[in-house]
């Protein structure tokens, strides 16, 4: 974590006034690019990552040495074809892969921010990333694409910059975090806070990590990314490397072992305070808030062509919440398409090998690009 060696960073000089009222300046945004920007600078796609993602969307992540988090969708000849498009992806502020976040040092105290880092929002994340466009001299993106929290950023981006992208693809997301979404995030945050090593967010100075709390947060969240049917088919009541029940609290079942493993590898790559900050940003997300509860007004005047995608087995950001976005766009006559993809893989479907999804994403982008 925080191995800065392979990380490209833009230091943003422009001050950014955050929703919480504080202002940040001279802050780093860590980013990665794939493919090349054409002469007309009209082939750029900005990808927004989800809660625990980072800028390494494709290829091999140099920090974890694993495939980038969206390798099924992004790469040469993939849905988001890096032979054709110039892909930019950056780590959100509040994150822990090089962008300004709680694991950075407070310039005033020279100590790690921890929970002294300002509270950030999806709006702040998007405004910070907008600086990358100026950095690359891009006036108008070809597309903004993202799933889950990435989809929320897509919606926020178009709302903030109605004509700065030709197309927008919000996937498996919502325009407003539901009570259930907030409840599940709070469960994760309380798991971290209950770990004594968390120490009110100041664990770096104690040279510890709230790994147990963070692992439990991840385990709980991981369940919400899968569907009941998917879990049942993959694990059922299968036992983990044993013939019979052990009559103990060991991980008798494969699902237990799987979740423990997911928790244990997560703590190696993710910062507990970042987890608090980013889940908070998601909970604060309500695009209608500044528009008297009217989502359509958030998109007034946009010429952006939208394509909204949801998944049948996603109960975290269900089809209806995605459809609400479509309805809001239709009511102002915006250009919007919508498809619900059949999949048993739950919310995680957008990250996995789901051919119907990968096909519609590829086709939508390709056909829209031809019209460029």
């Amino acid at each position: 974590m925080n191995n800065e060696i392979n990380i490209k960073t833009l230091i943003v000089k422009n001050p950014l006034k955050l929703d919480c009222g504080k202002t940040i300046k001279n802050y780093p945004i860590a980013y990665e690019t794939y493919g090349s920007l054409n002469k007309k600078k009209d082939n750029a796609i900005l990808i927004f990552h989800a809660l625990t993602g980072d800028q390494f969307v494709s290829g091999v992540n140099p920090i974890t040495n694993k495939d980038g988090w969206w390798s099924y969708a992004v790469g040469p000849n993939k849905s988001i074809d890096t032979n054709k498009y110039f892909v930019i992806c950056s780590n959100v502020i509040g994150g822990c892969m090089g962008s300004y976040g709680p694991s950075h040092k407070d310039p005033n105290t020279q100590k790690n921010f921890g929970t002294n880092f300002p509270i950030i929002t999806i709006n702040d994340m998007v405004n910070a990333q907008n600086n990358l466009l100026d950095h690359f001299g891009i006036d108008k993106l070809f597309s903004v694409v993202g799933g889950s929290m990435g989809g929320m950023q897509v919606l926020q981006f178009v709302s903030n910059f109605p004509n700065k992208t030709k197309t927008a693809v919000p996937i498996a997301c919502t325009s407003s975090h539901s009570a259930q979404n907030i409840a599940l995030n709070e469960l994760g945050r309380q798991a971290i806070a209950a770990d004594n090593n968390w120490n009110q967010g100041d664990y770096v100075s104690k040279n510890t990590n709230p790994n147990k709390g963070l692992a439990v947060a991840r385990m709980a969240a991981h369940i919400t990314y899968l569907s009941k049917k998917g879990l049942q088919e993959k694990f059922g009541r299968k036992l983990q490397e044993r013939e019979d029940l052990k009559f103990s609290f060991d991980a008798d079942f494969q699902i237990e072992s799987y979740l423990r493993y997911q928790g244990s590898i997560f703590v190696d790559r993710f910062d507990a305070n970042s987890y608090l900050y980013i889940t908070r940003a998601m909970d604060y997300f309500d695009l209608t808030r500044k528009f008297n509860g009217n989502l359509s007004n958030a998109f007034k005047g946009t010429k952006t062509k939208f394509f909204v995608i949801s998944f049948t087995s996603d109960w975290l950001y269900p089809t209806q919440e995605n459809k609400d976005i479509v309805i809001a766009l239709n009511s102002i006559g915006a250009d919007v398409g919508f498809a619900e993809i059949e999949s048993d893989k739950g919310h995680d479907s957008f990250l996995l090998d789901v051919p119907d999804f990968l096909n519609v994403l590829k086709n939508f982008l390709e056909k829209s690009y031809v019209e460029n």
């Binding site: 239709n330 009511s331 006559g333 398409g337 619900e340 096909n359 390709e366 829209s368």
Partner: protein, 198 residues
């Protein structure tokens, strides 16, 4: 392209805003977009057909016409097209009212149950008619509310819909329907095409 699609396309002026309800694989949408510069949207319930539309680069919304038309504002399209689908709805009247609310005008086509081949099939064979426009058997047909050209005209009048144009299609032949020839057209046409307004 199917003959009825040509007739529908001829009813729509260039550069208009059109919604096709039940747009299937997007064949008509693609034609209108490419040949008449129509700003076209589709609503389609079948996932595989939605994928086909996206392959063609068309803007399509996956949804159910009986529930999902209400999201479109009043008169937000110049034309709303409903091609051979009216008979498959649970509540065709509700859908027709929605078409005429969302569109300034609506183009509705219906497979004609009054067609002589349909009548003869039932009369002679005594089984549910199967024709080119009604290809399914009684147990697997999606059609719930079949009507004839005469039924549709009478219904439109009873609901005070304005019928701008009524066309009858019999194979390659297109002809106008009027009050005088309604009975004949109802017998000799397999498809009715209506341009209506409320």
């Amino acid at each position: 392209m199917k003959n009825d699609f040509k007739v529908i396309a001829d009813l729509i002026e260039k550069n208009k805003r059109v919604l096709e309800v039940g747009c299937s694989d997007g064949t008509l949408m693609k034609f209108l977009k490419e040949n008449k510069n129509i700003n076209i949207r589709g609503l389609e319930i079948s996932k595989t057909k939605v994928q086909k539309c996206i392959e063609k680069g068309l803007t399509v919304i996956e949804g159910n016409a009986e529930k999902d038309l209400k999201q479109f504002p009043d008169k937000s399209f110049d034309y709303v097209v409903l091609s051979q689908t009216l008979q498959a709805f649970l509540e065709p009247e509700l859908v027709l009212n929605e078409l005429l609310r969302v569109g300034k005008k609506a183009i509705v086509t219906i497979p004609n149950f009054g067609y002589w081949k349909v009548r003869l099939h039932l009369l002679l064979k005594g089984t549910m008619p199967i024709t080119k426009t009604l290809p399914n058997e009684w147990h697997n047909t999606p059609n719930l509310h079949m009507c004839s050209i005469k039924d549709f005209v009478q219904f439109a009048k009873s609901r005070n819909f304005k019928i701008f144009k009524s066309l009858a299609l019999n194979n390659q032949n297109i002809s106008l329907i009027n009050d005088v020839n309604l009975g004949i057209k109802n017998l000799f046409s397999d498809l009715g095409i209506f341009l209506i307004e409320k």
